[in-house]
């Protein structure tokens, strides 16, 4: 009876790696997995994710199975009359399981640096394609207009519908008007907090035409959940035509007196 109980508990602990691996194995097939990547840099991030997943997966299975095996084998009920091993440790083992993880972790850190620098540090030398100003609970957009400069009267103002040319590096100038927000583009593997008082550059290149979610990922108040935008990639000619049409629409309905412009220009 005692043995059965011991086996039961050991098997319960074996279920952790078995079901754990199963969950991750099934997840992609039920579409609960990384969303489609439509960015030029995303595959680099995804492959790092898979690399860490494989590495931690091996360690996870190895340690959990070891724990199961020890519970199975060293159950007191199968060791009647024996004593537990009297051992206080092993210097060799300590050295081994310090050095190997240390080297692995250090390698892992160094291995990540290039991807990080590409997304966050190697800013392309170009003027902003668009300014995104986060505000409770919307994304205000400002395109530079024909003169290519932000903050001039020919700027185009829009809300939530971010349209950008595909297959081109774009530079977003990210600002916030009120509280913290976070500009999260799941399909482009982009996330950057918008901070009041700061202008933060964000750059990426879309690789597919189509339309995807913009999500706010930093708590910004009661309406945080509905701070939704759309990012749409179109071809360059389509983009130019769209920009012209939108500018014309803006000029016909709102001459120069801009209610929003004054606030945005802060």
């Amino acid at each position: 009876m005692k043995r059965l109980a011991g086996m039961f508990w050991a098997l319960l602990f074996l279920a952790v790696p078995v079901l754990g691996v199963a969950t991750f194995a099934v997840a992609p097939s039920i579409n609960v997995w990384l969303p489609k990547d439509v960015s030029a840099h995303g595959h680099e991030i995804d492959s790092l994710f898979y690399f860490i997943l494989a590495l931690t997966g091996v360690v996870f299975v190895a340690t959990e199975v070891l724990l199961f095996w020890f519970m199975w084998k060293y159950d007191a009920s199968v060791r009647e009359g024996e004593k537990a091993t009297y051992i206080h440790g092993s210097h060799t083992l300590e050295v081994v399981w310090t050095i190997i993880p240390a080297a692995t972790l250090l390698f892992l850190a160094i291995y990540q640096m290039n991807a990080w620098a590409n997304v966050k540090m190697r800013r392309p030398d170009m003027p902003p394609t668009v300014e995104v100003v986060a505000r409770q609970f919307e994304w205000r957009l400002r395109y530079p207009g024909n003169d290519g400069l932000l903050g001039t009267p020919d700027d185009l103002h829009l809300v939530n519908d971010l349209t950008l040319p595909v297959d081109e590096e774009v530079l977003v100038q990210l600002k916030s008007m009120d509280v913290l927000h976070s500009f999260f583009l799941p399909n482009l593997r982009i996330k950057q907090d918008a901070v009041p008082g700061m202008k933060i550059p964000v750059w990426f290149k879309g690789t597919e035409t189509g339309s995807w979610d913009i999500v706010c990922a930093e708590l910004c108040g009661w309406g945080h959940y509905k701070m939704k935008g759309r990012i749409t990639f179109v071809t360059r000619p389509e983009f130019d035509a769209w920009l012209e049409r939108k500018t014309a629409e803006q000029n016909s309905t709102q001459p120069v007196a801009e209610v929003t412009g004054e606030i945005v220009a802060n």
Binding site: W9, L12, F13, V16, T23, W33, L34, I45, L48, T56, E64, L66, L67, F70, Y74, D75, A76, K83, A84, T85, Y86, I87, H88, G89, S90, L93, W97, T98, P101, L105, L106, L108, A109, Q112, M113, W116, V119, K120, Q136, D178, V179, L180, F184, P186, K191, Q192, V195, P196, G197, M198, W212, D213, V215, A217, E218, L219, W222, Y225, K226, N266
Partner: protein, 603 residues
Amino acid sequence: MSTVTVPTTTDHGHAPVKKTGSLSTFISTYVFSKDHKVIGLQFLFSTLLWFLIGGLLALAVRWQVAWPWSDVPVVGKLFAQEGGQMAPEFYTMLFTMHATVMIFLVIIPILAGAFGNFLIPLMIGADDMAFPTLNMLSYWFMWPAFIAFGASFFVEGGAAAGGWTSYPPLSTNVASAPGSGWGQTLWLIGLTFVGVSSMLGSVNYMTTIILMRAPGMTMFRLPMTIWAMFITAVLQAFALPVLTAAGFMQLADRMFATGFFSPEGNIVNNAVPGPGGGQPLLWQHLFWFYSHPAVYIMILPAMGMVSDILTCFARKPLFGYRPMVYSIAGIAGLGFIVWGHHMFMSGMNPALGITFMVSTMMIALPSAVKTFNWLGTVWGGKIQFTTAMLFALSFVSMFIIGGLSGIFMAATPVDIFIHDTYFIVAHFHYVLFAGTAMGVWAAIYFWYPKMFGRTMNEFWGKVHFFLTFLFLNGTFFTMHILGAVGFPRRLADAYHYQTFHHLQPMNAFMTYCAIGMVATQIIFAINFFWSMFFGPVADRNPWNANGLEWTAPSPPGHGNFDFQPVVYRGPYEYSVPGVDDKDHLMQTDPPNAAAAAAAAASH
């Protein structure tokens, strides 16, 4: 460090209890007590009550995530403005207060306050803490915090709703959210009092552990629980002043129109802007300078207690005692230089992100060393599957998951995608619930006989363990793959996004598991209180463990020991060869094996 101790017979600052049975005696014994054991139990009962409240808040959060805008059962009518559904601002308040309650009113005080208080003097062989009055105050300073946090639910606008991290300007600007009114002010006041309580406790623990160890109790004969409590106290003493100062700065921003955390001309919700001149990121640096070490404050004591429980029920010495001590110290040291990993996406200079990535990767190392040593401890053991042991083993199993998932977030490029998604929610619940809370249950089942003189029911204990283990994995493991979709945390309703619209069934499954997990705790509560009165009476050492606390009566009387404990060895001498009549040598057993046998026979 010398091992000279304060004699146990001296007066330690409080009069002996008179057995008169009057009201004032009752108050001085059980209410304003200076006895570390009573204070420990006061902490335990208070924190368990808040654990229940925090758990119910979690259920309400889970309800909204699984079935947004549907009528909340049972309690819906209490808070609903529109029918029985919850408003989005109510939801933001729920998760803010769930985290606040669990972190500041449950985990930190149950580890340091309840177990630190109860165990430190008993395990080092002292009759009480070094400063009994400070100790009493450390408990009573929790009450202003209890009242502030509790009352904040009933003020206009409701309790704080800016997240437990309380990032400005959302938290400093009264106009930015309904909960940023009085609720936020009370939150800051509550936080300050929790800090005062922790500080009083940590000063006391450090002094007690350094100065009041029994003769023969050298630092390297201390049980891991005490090492962990000691290093936790050091962490608290060094990190906490920063949070307290930052809290006052935020309070000043709110009440005295200063501008530490808001830039100039920052208009929120069309309100008049404050004076500005500050930076929102400043708060994040100050907050995480405390709150990252606090993450270790929330796990190290559990690691210590689990080490003691594993050795006892594996009947085996701790594998690698010194590496275990050094790795705790390593975690604490490195813990001060990793705070920036909470801020990779914050707008902080990305070059700093690289520095913090390296330090964060390296802090995984001492955690890995600890895990390998726990496995080494179980290896070759003679395992008794008691409830306490099962919880301790599950701590190891679950901590592996929580530890490994942390590496994803430490890797800055991967963090770009999973930052602020359910991946991080999975990570910290594996560390704090599946880790610390399971460790706390292990400790409750293990030291219960010492606390109350009776043993908890083992059968129902195992049922409690089994169901909790099942449901917690059902709830939290699935969060990893939700995070892989990018499912963001803190959203009242994410299903209107094309990317997340198909995730409702999975969230419903998790909520069912969460309901099961909370319901399972009814078994624990009944077992806990029933055993207090009807459980089998425990003798001094029901588990045949080695620590000094097991030489004292169960429960120990005032002054703890009925003789002066003298320590001859470390706490993990199980299955010593050559000792044939029993499989362990207590710390107080005289060195001569024959004398040990004689002493055991005369007990």
